[in-house]
């Protein structure tokens, strides 16, 4: 096991910069998730760590060693690919044992490593099958088994769950997390799914357009997003945002563009002509007769909760209520906002105030 460090890492394909200076520190044994929309460079960053892409500038360290010029086979890392990359002409057992076979380990050593790994993943009865004969979830497990057998310094996962159906994805999520708790190997995991990131990570790195937007624990990102991008990306349904400015007569009140006044938890130090964005999470809104009137547009009952899209202060916002609400489109609801849980951002820089 080892720590991993990215120091001002850059990467360009031709003249096109893909990674524009990334600094991340990953502690020994940590589960770190790189998350961001497609094309943000997260997979490229992971492949650079694996040695599958070269590094245009900066440094990547595994442990104390700079690995910029170290070929993949000497980095002692195991990777689970999005398409699993199982060798189709080898049985499950041979797939898992491949790295050991290459090292020339004896049959006894290989067995002693493969068997326990297969047991952890529930693959024991499948060891003699070929990848084609397995379901998607089983292939996923074999790919993880191949990584576990290696007992590497670092585990890399490149969107490992995106080829699975929704139900299996949730199950595998828990399985991967459990596996990490058991093996405590440093893990870097790439996904575009913020739910995966929130549920599994010790630390999330939110990436956007080749840059790191924010690094932090899941709840830290949720509670204190550093900018508009992170605020919109983390959380589902995403944060509602309303443009406006501070009420010149009352620093505890935000004025939306249509003149509606929204509550603010603590005084905001900003001049009234500075354009701001008022952010509120759907989960922190409730029905309140003294609240702000909003017109229901769409109502989506899910059983456990009711999601309502309503027009509030001239903007369509999403609200999540834990009670069942018998409203119809066109009805007016009065919505109370938890003033302590709102976020204020500068509209031009996008930064949190």
């Amino acid at each position: 096991m080892a720590s991993v460090e990215f120091v001002n890492v850059r990467k360009s394909f031709g003249s096109q910069p893909i990674i524009k200076g990334v600094d991340v520190q990953i502690e020994d044994g940590e589960f770190v998730i790189l998350v961001g929309p497609s094309g943000c460079g997260k997979s490229t960053l992971l492949r650079m760590l694996a040695g599958l892409e070269n590094i245009s500038a900066g440094e990547i360290r595994i442990g104390d060693k700079v690995v910029n010029r170290v070929p993949p086979k000497e980095r002692d890392i195991a990777m689970v690919f999005q398409n699993y990359a199982l060798y189709p002409h080898m049985t499950v057992a041979d797939n898992m044992a491949f790295s050991l076979t290459l090292k020339g380990e004896s049959k006894a050593v290989i067995d002693a490593r493969v068997k326990p790994a297969a047991e952890i993943l529930g693959l024991t009865h499948l060891l003699e099958r070929y990848p084609r004969q397995l379901s998607g979830g089983q292939r996923q497990r074999v790919a993880m088994g191949r990584a576990i057998v290696r007992d590497p310094q670092v585990f890399l996962f490149d969107e490992p769950l995106s080829n699975l159906d929704a139900k299996l994805r949730v199950a595998m999520r828990a399985e991967i997390k459990e596996l990490h708790q058991r093996l405590k190997t440093t893990t870097v995991y790439v996904t575009h799914d913020q739910i995966e990131a929130m549920t599994m990570a010790d630390k999330i790195v939110v990436m956007h357009d080749g840059r790191v937007e924010q690094i932090g624990a899941p709840l830290e990102l949720y509670d204190r997003p550093a900018n508009l991008f992170v605020a919109g990306f983390i959380g589902s349904p995403s944060m509602n945002m309303i443009s406006g400015c501070i009420d010149p007569s009352d620093p505890l009140s935000f004025v939306a563009k249509d003149g509606t006044k929204l509550p603010v938890g603590k005084p905001i130090d900003a001049s009234p002509d500075r354009p701001l964005v008022y952010g509120m999470r759907p989960e922190f809104m409730r029905l309140d007769p003294a609240g702000i009137p909003a017109e229901v547009v769409v109502i989506e009952p899910t059983g456990a909760e009711t999601q309502i899209i309503a027009k509030l202060a001239g903007t369509e916002v999403t609200c999540v209520f834990h009670e069942r609400i018998a409203a119809r489109p066109g009805d007016t609801l009065h919505i109370g906002i938890d003033a302590a849980a709102i976020h204020i951002f500068d509209e031009t820089t996008g930064l949190r105030l």
Binding site: L52, P72, K73, A85, Y87, F98, L102, R132, L134
Partner: protein, 310 residues
């Protein structure tokens, strides 16, 4: 079903005509007629001629295995069998090795990749007779460019007698055949290489495989089904080769480059012995069947290709 009454014959006929099988049969007819006229009939006629003493201008009578008996004791026929097997074996091995090598190079990220891929196909698209004529000049006893270059370099004193010496002639025709055959193998294997997911190579390199191990343990096993198809075709083409030999050496010198196909033609048409020529051609069939059987077993789906859906 069983409770339904059986429809009258006429209705059954109409039903059948509208079924998928009838439509299928109808669509197959033109192709079947074509195959019978242009493949089955000539093949059958050839086999029949082999059992007769037909000459040009005289339809023969059935003489049983007499042609084959004669050939069995004919040293020239056995030379041609040896030549054909030797030619096929050496040329196929060389074509496979060089074709695979070329395919591996073309599969890398090279500048002007698609240009090179197009260029490689050139020997294949040029008509055989044309390239054979070019080789005829290259291998000319006096004006050969190879001899000239080597003489300019001072490596040899006199021109090489490429097509006049038995050993040189064999090497020369094999070289020409290899040059012509490489593109087919290289492009087919390149297509096969491109079906192998690059992430398999990446996974193998992370697993600690050297590039030779990646080739031997990942690429080659996954390429075997395509190698089996391509090499079967290549062996069939090479075994039945005619044009190249006919233009370059006409089987000479002293039958050193006579293949079964060229001998069959020489005995049958210029020699006028249609029956004997046909018998030589028929004698190729067991060899070709062996090659086809080899590919049949080679092409069988391997265990790892079976089961599951993808």
């Amino acid at each position: 079903m069983s409770s339904q009454s059986i429809p009258p014959p006429k209705a059954r006929m109409t039903d059948w005509l509208q079924s998928r099988n009838a439509t299928g049969l109808l669509f197959m007819l033109p192709a079947a007629a074509f195959l019978i006229c242009f493949l089955t009939y000539p093949l059958g006629l050839g086999v029949w001629l082999g059992f007769t003493d037909a000459k040009i201008g005289r339809s023969g009578v059935f003489i049983g295995l007499e042609n084959y008996w004669y050939l069995w004791h004919d040293p020239v026929f056995w030379t041609s069998v040896f030549n054909t097997v030797f030619y096929t074996l050496i040329a196929s091995v060389l074509k496979f090795a060089l074709g695979l090598w070329l395919a591996l190079i073309l599969n890398e990220h090279l500048p002007f990749k698609s240009f090179f891929r197009a260029i490689v196909l050139l020997p294949w698209v040029v008509p055989t007779v044309l390239s054979a004529l070019a080789f005829w000049w290259i291998f000319d006893a006096q004006f050969s460019i190879i001899s000239w270059s080597l003489m300019q370099l001072g490596w040899i004193d006199a021109p090489i007698n490429f097509l006049g010496d038995p050993t040189n002639a064999r090497i020369s025709v094999i070289a020409a055949n290899v040059w012509r055959g490489i593109p087919f193998i290289a492009i087919s294997l390149l297509a096969g290489l491109q079906t192998i997911s690059p992430s398999l190579q990446e996974a193998a390199s992370l697993d600690g495989a050297t590039s030779w191990q990646r080739f031997r343990l990942v690429t080659l096993p996954m390429l075997t089904p395509i190698i089996a198809v391509v090499m079967t075709f290549s062996v069939l083409f090479t075994f039945t080769d005619f044009q190249l030999i006919y233009v370059l050496t006409k089987g000479g010198p002293v039958n050193a480059t006579h293949l079964m196909a060229t001998l069959s033609f020489q005995r049958g048409i210029p020699g006028g012995q249609l029956g004997e020529g046909a018998a030589i051609a028929v004698a190729m069939i067991p060899f070709l069947l062996a090659a086809i059987l080899f590919s049949f077993f080679g092409l069988q789906r391997r265990k790892w290709q079976q089961g599951g859906q993808d």
